[in-house]
């Protein structure tokens, strides 16, 4: 701490692992930061006078006589309007060549909102992507990840969603971003002319993995400043949470903790929940919405990371390549927005939920027809029409390159229904058929 007149420096390490160092020191507080040979570290364990520090940048080259000094407080971030438009590293230091931010110094990873003080999320976040707006509508205060294999263009989709969403601030937390993806985000934000409403905290693959652990807390501390202090609508983008969880497992492994499923730490659920539950609709109008990315291994959602994530988040958006059309689509079966009913038909047109259900049901019928075809059974006339419909539906609505309003999505769906089906085959309420069926 800067105000300390005398700062004790320790010079004898007792133990070193790849991610941690241990030494004897007195009066050290839990979670406080320290500097080990110029690298930032955090207290993770004390036992008597033996203190274990997690060294964010890794311990390569750290000698047993390394200089260690303690800062006396946990990680902090200086918050003010000056954060806007800036790029920072995991420690909150500028990486865009600009000056340090002046502002109030706040601890990151702070307390939770009293659940009784929360409000029910009710504001629609339109994205222009029909696979999201039509089938899995997003609501402010929601937390939802993209589940995608590493080869899917999830960062591009996320950037599109962020730039189209009607929010006051966007906070990007990049964990293990490739340098190319970092530059992509930077370019996308700059060319959209939206830089002034964006704050970015970035850890790239060139930087040590353990540093990533600080990114979500930093990003959410900035988000809380804008949502709580300024009553703004804030959208937080976290990519890639799988790499964050991997960093957690590295640290717990080095600390000799017993791993649970998929060599993840037993506390994975709580660790992830602490981040995602920062999503909130506040009583005074501010909100934090979190859109994250969880990369999958060959679509496997039973792995501990997507599995725990699924139990925490309010749905998931599943990206996959559609082999019939060559498009990347938002899979209507495996995607889900748990909060969609809070806005569908309330903030959108009355026919929204019926059109959504009919569209997905007919698409499911097409999948059954496809299975029949593959198994060599004869197809009925209905089956054939379903297959034609599925192609149109995938290209005009499910594909991630769609960018239209929700009314246009509904109109498109009605047009496709009329093109391929009879009204009674859609199962939509008669009153809505009478009003919207395209003759």
């Amino acid at each position: 701490m800067a105000t300390k007149a005398f700062q004790k420096i320790y010079t004898k390490l007792d133990a070193i692992t790849k991610a941690t160092v241990s030494l004897r020191a007195a009066g050290v507080s839990n979670d406080e930061l320290a500097t080990v040979e110029g690298r930032l570290a955090q207290v993770v364990k004390t036992k008597g006078d033996l203190v274990t520090l997690q060294v964010f940048a890794g311990t390569e080259g750290i000698p047993t006589n390394a200089e260690v000094s303690f800062h006396g407080e946990p990680p902090t971030l200086k918050v003010s309007e000056q954060l806007s438009g800036r790029f920072f590293n995991a420690y909150g230091k500028p990486i865009d060549g600009g000056p340090e931010v002046e502002g109030e110094e706040r601890q990151v990873g702070g307390p939770s909102v009293n659940p009784y003080k929360r409000r029910q999320p009710s504001e629609l976040i339109p994205t222009g992507i029909a696979g999201i707006d039509l089938n899995n509508t997003l609501v402010s205060g929601q937390k939802i990840p993209f589940f995608a294999d590493p080869d899917q263009p999830y960062n591009q989709v996320m950037a599109d969603v962020a730039l189209r969403a009607d929010v006051d601030k966007i906070v990007l937390g990049g964990m293990g971003l490739s340098n190319d993806d970092y530059l992509f985000f930077r370019h996308a934000f700059e060319s959209a002319g939206a830089l002034d409403k964006i704050v970015s905290f970035v850890n790239t693959t060139e930087e040590p993995p353990v540093e990533r652990l600080l990114i979500p807390d930093m990003a959410l501390a900035a988000a809380e400043y804008f949502a709580v202090d300024k009553n703004e609508k804030v959208l937080v983008l976290l990519t890639d949470m799988t790499l964050y969880a991997d960093a957690l497992s590295i640290v717990s492994n080095r600390m000799d903790q017993i791993p649970s499923k998929d060599s993840m730490p037993g506390s994975l659920y709580s660790d992830l929940a602490k981040i995602y539950e920062k999503a909130v609709q506040l009583p005074d109008g501010g909100s934090i919405t979190i859109i994250a990315v969880t990369t999958l291994n060959d679509g496997d959602i039973t792995h501990a990371i997507p599995d725990n994530t699924g139990y925490i988040t309010e749905g998931q958006l599943f990206l996959r390549a559609d082999s019939d059309t060559g498009k990347v689509i938002v899979d209507p079966f495996r995607s889900l927005s748990r909060l969609k009913q809070l806005v569908q038909g309330k903030k959108t047109r009355e026919d929204h939920s019926q059109v959504m259900n009919a569209g997905v049901r007919l698409y499911a019928d097409a999948q059954n027809a496809k299975t029949k075809l593959e198994n060599g059974f004869d197809l009925s006339d209905y089956d054939l029409r379903c297959l034609d419909y599925a192609k149109d539906y995938a290209v005009e609505l499910l594909s991630i390159d769609v960018n239209i309003t929700i009314d246009e999505m509904l109109d498109t769906a009605w047009r496709l229904f009329a093109k391929h089906f009879k009204p009674e085959e859609t199962g939509i309420k008669q009153a809505l058929i009478d009003k919207y069926w395209k003759k």
Partner: protein, 584 residues
């Protein structure tokens, strides 16, 4: 003199304390962090070192910080005013906390000490009483809330005086008792009880003898839960666990509902706050919130308090049971509680069991489930705690320690299935894997014979067998193709679909269909079985499926309409017409 100590080790929320005197397992202590007292609980003692789990974040705690032991275990405060409250896992009132964020070390009082209650005496001077005997009562909402001899009182007492009928706050002395040594003891409307100890104070705990109605057909008819029974709902995410639990909470035939939101999403609790005050209890016509207590320790709140939350909830249920009331405890999700145990066991570097859970997980779970049950009170009246927990199995795989341990402890199993959820067959309870052990109880079968109709259990078993047969036929049809199997396979398959669509599936969002009284369930099951017993003639499988789809549609329309209404009868007639076309 109180035992004190100094912090000597910290790993996350596990803190080691060097103590200067005696400490008890599960004793509470306050750790002083720069003037803020953090509550913690002793979980292990080794020599003069006590390991304590802290119910708060330990950020900033230092070696050498002082600790004061409180000489008591974690207790719940019991008394009028518990209903319609919203507590955290340690029973802090969340509604009276200041500020948007939870503040570390902010502990609020669970009960209102100012509020006056209309007291009516029950006991008379001279009565001999023991713990849990009723001294008087107040009206809490519409429920008679008994003021009892505190559960912690040992031996027999003589009532010296009872306050006359009138208005009192919870701290007023409402009775004076004389103990066996001739000393006066004052009793107020409130008492405290350690949450990890079961409240006894009843004469006996017989086997359950009645069914608790939920209005959900797949539960009440196919897999009924007994009043005082136990059940659990495992299922992968997105299968409707929480929706099903909320349905049970809204419709369950119970006097008191305690919902423990244990390590789950905060927005789900917000949904309860937002919806419940609007909803009406279908059995009494009163607001649902008036009979509901919410214990809410969401996933981002401190992990140790998550473990405490289920015990706090159970203690409140047991308290109301001792008043002769029927209580329903819903815990969502017990897996998060087990994970809290795992995190702690891991930090204590205990040798782990399967999936790194503590080895005594199974006994902890069965111990907790055993606190449910129907009891006969000392005065001969009965009370019950019914417990339904959800389980969130990792990867949706039911072969994991929490599901397996719970399966040993709970008597009803409601298996939510991804496949059914994907097909939008809600509630996604698998009709074949799920079971209720209570159907095997002779006393329950006798009760159902009486309450519904003679031979009801056999009828249910017959319907279950038909569903199973239909599933086997579906497998054959999938392998051999629609044309590759005899017509009877299609008929059997479609009869099981009829049971599935018209009976097992239920629209939880429809005002009529969501709540199906047991008499109506009987009517529909009789009707459906009658159809399934008929022999039909079909020329081809397409005709068969088209015919059954019409039957299903008509039966579903009946489900959507008020029982006995004109529309209902209209569809009933339509059904007869369809039936007249084919079969006998």
């Amino acid at each position: 003199m109180k035992t004190t100590g100094k912090v000597t080790g910290i790993v996350s929320n596990l803190v080691t304390v060097q103590v200067d005197g005696p400490v008890a397992e599960n004793e509470l202590c306050y750790i002083n962090l720069g003037g803020t007292d953090l509550l913690a609980e002793v979980i292990k003692v080794n020599g003069d070192k006590a390991s304590v789990q802290v119910f708060e974040s330990t950020r900033g705690l230092r070696g050498g910080d002082s600790v004061e032991f409180l000489g008591k275990m974690l207790e719940a405060t019991l008394g009028p005013g518990l209903l319609s409250s919203v507590y955290d896992g340690l029973q802090n009132d969340l509604t009276t906390m200041t500020g948007v964020f939870l503040k570390r070390g902010e502990y609020t009082d669970p009960l209102d000490h100012e509020k006056l209650w209309d007291f009516t005496p029950i006991a008379q001077p001279g009565d001999k009483v023991i713990a849990a005997d009723w001294l008087g009562e107040v009206k809490e909402g519409w429920l008679p809330h008994k003021i009892m001899v505190p559960f912690s009182f040992k031996g027999t007492y003589t009532v010296k005086s009872v306050a006359p009928a009138g208005q009192y706050n919870i701290d007023a002395t409402i009775a004076t008792l004389v103990n066996e040594d001739g000393e006066d003891v004052a009793v107020t409307m409130t008492q405290r009880w350690p949450v990890k100890v079961a409240i006894k104070g009843y004469k006996e705990k017989p086997r359950p003898q009645k069914i608790m109605e939920t209005g959900v057909r797949v539960i009440d008819t196919f897999n009924p839960i007994a009043e005082g029974g136990t059940g659990f709902i495992p299922g992968p995410f997105g299968c409707g666990k929480t929706v099903l639990q909320h349905a049970i909470a809204k419709q369950g035939e119970a006097d008191v509902i305690v919902m423990a939101a244990c390590g789950e999403r905060a927005n789900e609790v917000v949904e309860i706050f937002t919806e419940f005050p609007e909803l009406i209890d279908p059995h009494t016509g009163r607001h649902l919130m008036e009979r509901t207590t919410i214990i809410c320790n969401t996933s981002n709140m401190p992990v140790a308090a998550r473990e405490a939350s289920v015990y706090t909830a159970m203690t409140i249920c047991e308290y109301y049971r001792a008043m002769g009331l029927r209580c329903l405890l819903l815990a969502d999700s017990t897996s998060r509680w087990a994970q809290a145990l795992r995190e702690m066991s891991n930090r204590m570097e205990e040798l782990p069991g399967a999936d790194a859970f503590p080895v005594d997980l199974s006994s902890i779970i069965s111990n907790f489930y055993s606190r449910a049950g129907m009891v006969i009170l000392n005065n001969g009246q009965t009370g019950a705690v019914t417990f339904i927990g959800t389980v969130s199995p990792a990867g949706g795989n039911l072969k994991e320690p929490v599901t397996e341990s719970t399966k040993k402890a709970a008597r009803c199993f409601y298996a939510l299935e991804q496949n059914r959820a994907d097909q939008k067959r809600y509630p996604a309870v698998n009709p074949i894997d799920s079971y209720s052990k209570y159907l095997e109880y002779p006393e329950i079968a006798a009760y159902l014979d009486e309450k519904i109709e003679k031979g009801w259990v056999e009828k249910v078993t017959r319907a279950k067998t038909m569903v199973l047969r239909g599933k086997e036929m579906a497998d054959q049809i999938n392998i051999l193709g629609d044309d590759g199997v005899p017509m009877s396979y299609h008929e059997t398959f479609w009869k099981s679909e009829l049971i599935d669509f018209a009976f097992l599936q239920q629209d939880g969002f429809d005002p009529v269909d969501s709540l199906c009284p047991i008499e109506r369930q009987r009517y529909m099951l009789d009707l459906i079985l009658e159809i399934c017993d008929r022999k039909f003639e079909f020329e081809n499988y397409e005709q068969c499926s088209a015919y059954f789809k019409r039957l299903i549609n008509t039966l579903r329309q009946m489900n959507y309409n008020k029982w006995g209404s004109d529309d209902f009868e209209k569809y009933r007639t339509q059904l007869n017409e369809i039936l007249a076309e084919n079969g006998n």
